[in-house]
Symmetry: C2
């Protein structure tokens, strides 16, 4: 970490004054940010929204030990922890920033010396194929990663196209050079997770296969095609499965050595080479959700040549043009935070479709995408809040495709439901709410979705009426979920109510008056969990009374998920004014909000609450968990919007730093980063589904949004400084803004917002 600071200081020295019209924004992206502690991002190489996330795994901790959940696994949601001293290998799929996990497919490790087919232990990497490494010898850029593997004296470089991971290994002279392909390894792994793996050695440079897993995605198959730049001399495999009852007549071949068809549940392979000093062996591995043949097509079409630098440049150029969508001015620290946030925001959802448009649907059948790119990895409880709204601004074409993907999910799902938390043709139904409806409503209302909006509405309504899912039946009948029936009854009721409001907005836009009224009524259901006597959201029992034993600071068993009543009590983004009224009027509301940001939490809170450290919170405000993300902006609905400005600036400062431990919580597929982007630009979508952004306090000096419609929206901040955090005056296209809100239409029509900052409010 020391080294990292030296590096960042040197960059600071070189670039301490930002250049105007900066044509190299890529340099501000530091994928290493958030790799320490709980950011759960990966430092490896990927293309924007790419299918491949080729990244080093520093450990492969099992999900369970002796049948019991192993809490240490949580650190390895993205496979990499900055404090680790060894690398096990480079695998091709990683979630960015999640708080539960899966993936880690097809781990590859180059080695020298005696063949070792076990990874060995971190405290003594020589016990296996893993290797010690040092951050001194590590470079992580958007689309490029490099590290020296000390134990093997190999320099590993990684880049990736959308569907192809490209490895370049510089070997020493060796008669015993190996490349390990580990099909056992995976993230959130346990012995039974690999349902089946299959490998076919097609030639001495082409390998194909698949990995089928039963994990967070229950029915998941990932196909691959791998090619070496140099023919191997020999190869072999070992099946580590403890119990292999049935051997059939396969003894007809020696199947461990040079046998071209290998299948089983616990397999590692090795490919053997002789290398000259500084000889580069390159490996390309393409993925496909469809078939090995699809992976081969992706491989030869997307990465047809062996020139590592060309592929790297291609991908980095793609990143550069994504980053150029927002040009900002500010100091290097700000730019590093900002462009790394842009980078993290543009990682997921991920492409889930072959180049020919084929993909696997929720029905486990192969489909042909007609007129859209199919995406997966929808962490919607997180990303409906700011990430998809950000896409509506900066990635409308992609967000349109994402909505198409979500509606295909709906069509194909056995439950006839929109995605909850969906990845790789599966839904894991993680977290609460049915927030697809927010993403869809927002995309339709902002004219981003080009498909049939009536069909989109139908999918939203049917999902919201899925009575046998997580208390929806009770919610419809009673207006709340009885606490006896669900451990997260309050979170769900509050989130369903917001989602219902989004559906109402969509229905209204489509002139479906009855549906509008029905869902608008449902959107008031938050009131049923609001206990006026204490002024907080509170679980309600089936008999209509509030649950007696109740701790507003606690999460577990209190009816909430990833947040206590203190945080969730402010969760009425669809109607802050009504919440203010319910809480006894503006004065009491402000007082309560002030208290949230100022309170002193007992130690018990930290033991009880997920993803939280004392650094990660401001008073009782927990930025690391999403339910709080709109809360700082609620002052805008009162006469004290300067308190929004104060808190937003505090959060920007405290929760985002350009260091490995710089993220205050899981990045959650870009939601944390999207919050940063909006907030540093000066506005935030409190209630997606509305056209309205709440103004906060911009931290940039200037920003230029280059929109897909060809228009530009400029934000010019005057008197910007760490002290001048208050918005004194705002001019939109030269005319004063009357309140602390700005509409989406205003921005996409292009123009300029001038904001004058001040040290006083």
């Amino acid at each position: 970490m020391k080294q990292f600071f030296i590096l960042s200081i040197s960059i600071f020295t070189l670039f301490s004054y930002a250049q105007k019209n900066d044509k190299n924004l890529l340099k501000y992206v530091k994928p290493i940010i958030g790799t320490q502690r709980m950011g759960h991002v990966y430092p490896g190489a990927t293309a924007p929204f790419g299918m491949v996330q080729l990244s080093p795994d520093t450990d492969t901790i099992p999900y369970s030990v002796n049948g019991k959940y192993n809490p240490d696994v949580y650190k390895y949601c993205a496979g990499y922890q900055y404090d680790d001293k060894t690398i096990v290998g480079f695998s091709h799929t990683h979630f960015s920033g999640t708080g539960h996990s899966d993936l880690g497919d097809f781990l590859i490790m180059p080695t020298t010396g005696k063949l070792q087919l076990n990874p060995g232990i971190a405290s003594n990497p020589s016990t296996g194929f893993r290797s010690a490494f040092s951050h001194d010898n590590e470079t992580a850029q958007a689309g490029y990663y490099k590290v020296k593997l000390d134990d093997h004296n190999i320099t590993a470089e990684l880049t990736a196209t959308n569907r192809v991971g490209f490895h370049q290994y510089t070997f020493p002279k060796s008669d015993e050079a190996h490349i390990i392909l580990d099909l056992m390894s995976g993230i959130y792994n346990y012995p039974e997770k690999n349902v089946w793996t299959y490998v076919r050695v097609v030639s001495d440079t082409l390998i194909t296969g698949y990995r089928q897993t039963n994990g967070w995605a229950k029915n998941r198959v990932q196909y691959f095609a791998l090619t070496f730049s140099k023919p191997f001399i020999s190869y072999g495999s070992k099946n580590f499965e403890e119990k292999q009852v049935y051997r059939g007549f396969w003894g007809k071949f020696n199947q461990n050595k040079n046998f071209p068809e290998i299948s089983g549940k616990q397999i590692r392979l090795h490919f053997d080479f002789k290398t000259d000093d500084q000889e580069k062996i390159k490996v390309k591995l393409a993925l496909s959700p469809v078939s090995m043949r699809g992976a081969v097509q992706n491989l030869i079409t997307e990465a047809p040549y062996w020139d590592f630098e060309t592929i790297k440049k291609q991908t980095q150029d793609l990143w550069e043009s994504e980053l150029q969508k927002v040009e900002i001015e500010g100091n290097t620290e700000l730019k590093e935070n900002f462009y790394t946030a842009m980078y993290h925001s543009f990682l997921a959802p991920t492409t889930y479709m072959d180049l020919d448009g084929k993909y696997k649907g929720l029905d486990q059948e192969i489909h042909q995408a007609e007129g859209f790119t199919n995406y997966t990895t929808f962490s919607l409880w997180d990303t409906y809040r700011a990430l998809h709204p950000l896409f509506n601004l900066l990635q409308p074409k992609r967000n349109n495709d994402m909505v198409h993907s979500m509606l295909q999910h709906y069509n194909q799902s056995a439950q006839k439901m929109l995605p909850i938390w969906s990845h790789y043709a599966n839904d894991n139904w993680c977290m609460s709410g049915y927030h697809s409806v927010s993403v869809i409503a927002d995309a339709v209302l902002k004219n981003v979705y080009t498909g049939d909006p009536l069909k989109a509405l139908e999918a939203c309504v049917n999902t919201a009426n899925k009575r046998n899912y997580e208390g929806i039946g009770d919610y419809i009948d009673k207006g709340y979920i009885p606490a006896e029936k669900s451990g997260i009854s309050v979170s769900n009721t509050l989130e369903y109510a917001y989602d219902d409001w989004a559906i109402a907005q969509l229905a209204k836009k489509l002139n479906k008056q009855t549906l509008y009224e029905q869902f608008l009524k449902r959107s008031g259901n938050w009131k049923n969990n609001f206990d006026k006597s204490i002024g907080f959201m509170r679980p309600k029992l089936a008999d209509g009374t509030f649950k007696k034993e109740f701790d507003i600071l606690s999460t577990h068993g209190q009816g909430f998920i990833e947040g206590n009543s203190w945080n969730y009590s402010f969760f009425v983004p669809q109607d802050p004014s009504a919440l203010i009224a319910a809480m006894g009027g503006e004065k009491k509301f402000i007082k309560k909000l002030d208290q949230l940001f100022a309170m002193d939490l007992p130690d018990s809170f930290f033991a009880d609450t997920e993803d939280i450290t004392r650094d990660g919170i401001i008073g009782g405000y927990v930025h690391g968990n999403e339910p709080a993300h709109h809360v700082a902006y609620l002052y805008n609905w009162t006469k004290q919007p300067w308190k929004t400005q104060e808190q937003v600036r505090k959060i920007l400062k405290m929760q985002y730093k350009p260091t490995p431990d710089g993220l205050g919580g899981n990045d959650d597929c870009g939601q944390m980063s999207a919050w940063y982007i909006f907030s540093s630009l000066g506005f935030y979508p409190v209630a997606p589904g509305s056209n309205q952004y709440a103004i906060g306090s911009p931290s940039v000096e200037k920003a230029k949004l280059h929109l897909e419609n060809g228009k530009t929206f400029e934000i010019e901040v005057h008197n910007q400084s760490d002290k001048n955090i208050y918005v004194k005056k705002m001019l939109l296209n030269g005319k004063p803004l009357q309140d602390f809100f700005i509409s989406h239409d205003t921005i996409v029509n292009g123009g300029k917002l001038s904001i004058e900052m001040s040290a006083t409010y």
Copy 2:
């Protein structure tokens, strides 16, 4: 069994004199023949060469108990044993007559009363969903099966199209009627065999899914689509897997009841109905090697209506027209044996392709069959001998497609080898030799194969030169396989030598002189294992000396498989004259052959040899194992062909009876039956790849072969009787035959063979 005899006697009474131009041959087919003891055939419903073999399973014995092979499993290769008293259910895939097994997919069982999701035990069927049954209430016909399930008071009827199994269940009045769909059940099952199963309840009448297994076929996926004639009221499932570590967030739904997407390794489902008295609930289940969608297409296209009788008639008409290919005259017992043999010969290879021509290849990719029907289930060590030659005569179109399928197998296999024992896009490499080459050569030489013969030759040559397979490298280098290196060194050398002769014939036909000479030379390799000093085939060590400890009566550890030296010493079908010379001339040869048929075997022999009982042999001749199948015909190469006639008649009589225990050994995918058909017609293909059939002793009175080329070949036997077993005179199209051989061309050109029998030679 008593009942069965009464039934067969009554048929005998009714039809004791055969009718001329019999238009109902179907009635002679008795699928129950061979279901007792070691025939390993199934009594259920199937179409000719059909993908679906819908048949009752009387037990589901595990392949292994506590990790150890369970020898009892062997009885259940086809799922059904005649002596059993209960039926577990009806599954959709069965091998016919194999001596190792797999399959048993998608077991369905209708029940009444309290739901039971365990099969229960045979001695007390009320402990589970299984049911007692009686052969009194059982009917088995070609394409139709019926049984009364006593415990549930349900009559079950089965029929099938090529790809669809059709169940018709007649229920009593019941408020608790169930249909169980058991995805755990299977043949040669063990806990780890189910790699994954998946079910999707699409509607209240349509279910789709798949079963993926790691068994004799290592990478096998069978897809299905099932439809009910009546909507179920409710449904549910139970996962019986002992260890289900990872549960994810799936608790959001109650997944045991009415949850439409079920997956795991050990799953049983139930569908619940209410029934009136005598109400019929029908079930159609289609298979697909490609996808659930493919299965749905097969279902709705091949069996679009609910009329059980129509589908049954359609399939039985297909069988009738297959049987009509050979019209014979003779008594009822003969006809029952003959047409049941025809039926058993036309079960495998099985169709392995969707109606749209898509199938799964050996490379685990989906392929489109261009201009041929893709087949699987190639038990080639058995079937190259007589079954494929029979197809060249009676099913040339299908055999052409089978050769196409085998060549696609070659193209797609990772090993670039022709099939050895291949089923469901896998090769299990069971048994010895590479007998695909015999089938291919025979089909090319008999002008049956319409594809590129040069490519066919290439595939044969490459397979025969696969040095790392089962001793081929040594065989090529030394001309034999050293006994130290293989437990079946002699069998393999002898069979390779025959196969090489077949390749030589193919090369000769294609004017590839060098290859011809090379493989003709290899075809003499049998001599290297012939020990002149004892006059028997004998394992040879790497140093060129014969193995010292050697027992000519024993199979195991002596270099043979399914046969001892006594039987294998006659395995030079490609050159009997050379064998005769090697054995010291005709006199000694005849003496040895006489001795084989007359010898008295010690008890130790029966303990040591597979598939053998004292009933199953004649002297030391073991008809139940294939290596002997040509042996009785070898007298034709001497001056005592009457001994062939004698032995053939004896085998026909002793080894084939129209009773449940009527087959002398495993039917082996039709090979035993094909031997019967040829032999009862009076000739046999001793060396497929030659045009020549050896004449035996016909047991029919008359036979008319209706060939696909429109021609007819008649066999007219005069003075036929159980005593008149000797061929006195033969006229081919009115001209006397000069020797005891007849050519294939002669037959396919049409005409008449008149044979005059006599009680003396």
